[in-house]
Symmetry: C2
DNA sequence: GAACGTTTCCTTGTATACAAGAATGATGAG
DNA sequence: CTCATCATTCTTGTATACAAGGAAACGTTC
C-alpha cells in the first residue's frame, strides 16, 4: 500500500533533518532560520530549503513571517496546555482501541517496551527515549494507523517540552508505575480503565504545569 | 499574540486556493496536479506553486511522488474509516470541554447555527454548509483553540467524503435531530451525554460506511 | 544626548535556465 | 499481432539571477 517509504524527496529529507534539530533542542524556540545558512550547511540551494520550511510551517514547528524569515515556533503556556490536553485525549483513545484490538505481536511489543523502560529507570535521558517507544507501541496497538500517525506527530511536536517534564523529582518513578497499570489494564482488555490512567499520565496539569512553565522561562523562550 | 492573520505569503494563498478546489470536489482524488498548469492558472511561476504543494502534502491533501509529480490524495476505505473514527473522538472531546466551559457568546453562536440548520433542512447543499458551521461552533466552544484548529483541519480533509454522506435518505433529518439533542445536552452542562451522542453522529459505521464506499466507487477514486 | 529620517546593506520572494529522470511513442523482432 | 527496446519528449528538481521589502547603521536635527 503506502510502504515505499524509501522514496523521499530532498525537501522531505531536509525537513526531517531540521525537525530533528528542533525536537532535540538544538534549535530553540524563537531562533531564526536563515535560508542561506541552512542551504550552505546542507550543501543545497535555497530552493529545497524553502520547501522544507514550508512543510515545517504546516507541521507547526516553524513560523513563517512573510518577508521576515522563518523562526522556530515558540508556544505560549496556554497553547502548550491545550496541546497537552489534546495529546492526553489521543493517547486515551489509543488505549481504548488497543484494549479491544490487541493482537499477539502488539502485546509482545508493549511488554518489550515496558521492560526496556524498567531497565533504564535510573537514567533520565535513556528513560526519556524508552518512554517514547512505549507510547508509540500503544499508538500502533490501537490498530488505527491514522490515529497513530497523528499521535506520533503531536508527540514529536511536544518533544522539546516533554523532555523538561521528566526532570521533575520522582517523575520517572511515577511515570513507570503508571505505565505498569496501563499495561495491565490493556492486557486485561480494560480499555476504559487504561484510558482513565493514561489521561493524567500525559496531561500536564497543576503543579506539573507550573514546573514546566518555570523551566520554559529558564530557556528564554518567548 | 498570533493575530496578524492578514499577512499571508503567496504560497499560503495558493495553498488555500488549491485546498478549496480539493474540498469542493473540483479536483478529485487521484487527479494529477501539473505544476505548469497551476502556475499559468494562477499567473505565477512554478516556484511558489511547488511550495504550496509541499504544504498540501504535509496537510495530507496531496501526495507527492518524487520525480513523478503531485496528485490529490485518495483515501482507501480503511483509512477513511480511521479518519472518521478520530474525527468522532475529537468532536466528542469538544463536546465534553464545551459543556464545562460554555460561555454566553458560545451558547449564542451555537443556537444561532442550530436555527440556521433548521431553516435549510430541506435543501441538502445548504444544510451541508450550515451543518459545517454548527460543528465549528462546537469546536470554538471547547475553549481549546488548538483542538478547534485540529478539528477544523480534519473536517476540511474529510469534506469531500462527508458531502457524499448526506445524500443518503433521511440522513439530513436524523442529523438535525441529533444536533438538537447535542445542543440540549451542552446547554444543560451534560458534557458526557453530548459526547456520547456526538460520537455516532460523526462516525460513519455499518450501513452508512458501506453507502459511503459505494458512492466513492462511483466517483472512480482509486 | 536622544530621537527621527535617510541611506545602505542584507534577506526574502519570484522567475527562469538548465539538468536529469519518467512517460510516451515508434520501431523492430518474435 | 504482441511484446520488448530504444529514442524522443515532457515534467520535475535544483541552482542562480534579479527584484523588492526590511533591518540596521549612519548622519542630522532638536
Amino acid at each position: 500500500m503506502s510502504d515505499d517509504a524509501s522514496a523521499l524527496s530532498t525537501a522531505q529529507r531536509l525537513r526531517q533533518e531540521i525537525e530533528n534539530d528542533i525536537a532535540a533542542g538544538h534549535l530553540v524556540p524563537g531562533e531564526r532560520l536563515d535560508e542561506v545558512s541552512l542551504a550552505t550547511r546542507f550543501h543545497v540551494s535555497r530552493t529545497p530549503i524553502r520547501e522544507a520550511l514550508q512543510q515545517l510551517a504546516m507541521a507547526g514547528m516553524v513560523e513563517i513571517r512573510p518577508r521576515r524569515g522563518a523562526v522556530v515556533a515558540s508556544l505560549t503556556p496556554e497553547r502548550l496546555y491545550e496541546m497537552f490536553e489534546v495529546m492526553a485525549e489521543l493517547e486515551s483513545m489509543c488505549c481504548r482501541l488497543a484494549a479491544r484490538r490487541l493482537g499477539p505481536s502488539d502485546a509482545f511489543a508493549l511488554e518489550r517496551a515496558h521492560r526496556a523502560c524498567e531497565a533504564v529507570r535510573h537514567d533520565h535521558d535513556a528513560y526519556y527515549r524508552a518512554n517514547e517507544v512505549f507510547h508509540q507501541a500503544i499508538y500502533a496497538a490501537s490498530g488505527n494507523t491514522f490515529l497513530a500517525e497523528q499521535a506520533r506527530l503531536l508527540q514529536r511536536r511536544l518533544q522539546p517540552y516533554r523532555r523538561l517534564q521528566l526532570r521533575v523529582r520522582n517523575r520517572v518513578q511515577n511515570s513507570f508505575s503508571e505505565h505498569e497499570r496501563i499495561l495491565a489494564a490493556l492486557m486485561a482488555g480494560e480499555g476504559e480503565e487504561a484510558a482513565r490512567i493514561m489521561r493524567p499520565h500525559v496531561q500536564v496539569q497543576g503543579e506539573r504545569f507550573s514546573d514546566l512553565i518555570a523551566s520554559l522561562k529558564l530557556l528564554g523562550a518567548a
